[in-house]
Symmetry: none
Subunit: 201 residues, 4 copies
DNA sequence: CATGAATGAGGGTTCATTCAT
DNA sequence: GATGAATGAACCCTCATTCAT
């Protein structure tokens, strides 16, 4: 009736959506994306199947939204990092560490890769994921640039270096799938040092 | 007793098996591993569903065999490379190039990652894939070692360096999924140079 | 060419048929009729699937033949028993004992019941089995009659008594399915005594 | 929260479950347990295949439930009979009559036997059926005991006598499979008289 | 809005039977 | 005769989605 009710309803809706997405991500992280059904997500969110379809058009949209949220959050995070005080190496080191930690971000990375690899996800999802991935390279590239200006980072196109850096990290993340871990330790300092400037004799 | 040419039958069987595996790989490469059904594979191979089960115990076994074949072949390839004449840098360069080329090996890499990521593949498959992956790191590590002896490759545990090198390449491969390609060029020479020795001043 | 070869061929064929039937019965006895495939029978007989269809028109015919053989053999056995020397009670006792023993005859009984119960067996099989079953009651009925003449067996239509006797035994056999045995001991002497004459006061 | 009438839903669910079980039993009675598919049961119940799996976890569970219901109902029936007024012979007579009538109980008996014989039913089902069968012997045994106290029933372990009595009835039931009936009339009075006391001279 | 029963296409798998060799 | 590869219909079961309540 009153505008306040409408507003409150919208807030309520937003909260529900976030709750569903959180529950879904949690479930997917534990059980894998392929074997998670709408039923499972609904159960995890403590809601009915029907409600899922009030908030999302399809299962695909849920996955899509999880990815969008995750990548957007990561984008903010890495952008924040890039404009911080500190050396480029420190920033790359932090990025490495936070990625190699097997926390939430890890589940996101796996999910992102799965989404891009899987034909279960639509062409549209795959394109959007890739686009955001590419955009998220920019802050890393600017860190590389900063490092080059300071003489700490190897020469070359900063975006290309960022591309290698992120691909390396993501490649490593893949090797750490629970239940199929490669028994080799990855160390952030070693990784960063690969990108260190090579002084000319 | 047996009026059939047993030897020829065995050859025929082997040929059929290879044909199925090839068809399956091709189909998976195009359509993705998750949504490829036995039906699809049978159609691609030009055979009936029932025939699939003459040659393989289950769909899982087909996937499993594709992976085994691919990883074994790659293992031979990289081992051969490691014992060749030539500088370590050349060898890494060749490895890069052959990987970044979007040929068959690319489809294998995707398949391997998907298999490791997907909960559709059984625990057993994931473990076997990871084990072979780890074993295949050894020849690369020996190339790293050779390079270090020659003063061309950066210091550090050779196996760890190999781990980074391969992860980097594989990470890049992921970014090149058809239909979702990151619009950045990866260049083998740049990648190899990350692993180049850093002369001390 | 020569008549002797034809004759020998026929003998060979008969031997093969018996071999198949024996192997099939053995397999069925162990694994149950429902889960035994032509493939299994062929393997047990050490022959090829194709050969099965040289000797039998269908799987149904194999089952059918096993039943026919088994019931015919049993018919001979019980007829022999009925014309032997000895008291009616002794004969019934022997019949009981041989039936309650968990030997080959037990597997036949189960098979017969399964065939009669199962819709997997055709109407035709079921009718044939029932007809042979009914015929095989006659020798038992004649034993009952003998017992009545001697004053040892209860009054009543001998065929009806035989029907009860055999049904009782068969009912008991069912209760002794391996893996689902009723934990009560059946004793031949008690069973026979149910059919003992009831002296009038 | 829930705009639906929860209580009515639960009632509806119960009704549906019973409807499915009834339809399934009917279908099985006509077509046999082995060749009844989920499809058949769904068709008989006028529902979709998917719905079956809303109400039951598996085909096995449907069979299991039919058996449980049937045996439990029978257990109540026979227990009620055993504590009624009347002579033991009357009670056995009634039991015989109700069993030999080719009504619903007949289908249950066949189903029970088939379940115990068939390897299609799981080990678990077979065990449960047998256990309930054994328990259901007790009321019959107590009738036997009553008869012995009154001097109307033959001597011997009451449970063993009950075992024979029930096995006899069940054996007879088997001989009356529609389409394969043994052409001999079974009469309740004759059967009961087999268990009558045998006066000592 | 909330609910969960209903749907049915599609998944992997089995197996009796046929037939070219 | 002997063989076993090939077939394809049928099995049980899953699950994204719809819709009456």
């Amino acid at each position: 009736m009153s505008p306040r009710n409408v507003e409150r309803d919208l807030l309520q809706r937003e909260k529900r959506i976030n709750h569903i997405l959180d529950s879904a991500l949690e479930t997917i992280a534990v059980r894998g994306i392929g074997s998670v059904s709408i039923n499972d997500i609904a159960a995890a969110a403590g809601m009915s199947i029907g409600s899922m379809y009030h908030y999302f058009k399809s299962k695909n949209e849920i996955i899509s939204e999880i990815l969008r949220r995750g990548q957007t959050d990561y984008g903010k995070h890495v952008t924040g990092l890039s404009v911080q005080q500190g050396s480029a190496q420190d920033k790359l080191f932090q990025l490495c560490e936070s990625w190699l930690a097997l926390d939430n971000s890890w589940a996101y990375t796996i999910l992102i890769h799965t989404a891009r690899l899987s034909d279960a996800s639509s062409e549209e999802i795959r394109r959007a994921v890739t686009e955001r991935f590419t955009n998220n390279l920019c802050p890393v590239a600017s860190v590389m640039e900063q490092g080059q200006r300071d003489g700490h980072i190897v020469n070359g196109d900063p975006l290309e270096l960022a591309y290698y850096f992120v691909s390396l990290i993501q490649g490593l993340t893949l090797q750490r799938m629970p239940g199929a871990e490669v028994p080799i330790q990855a160390r952030a300092s070693s990784i960063v040092s690969l990108f260190a400037a090579k002084p000319q004799l």
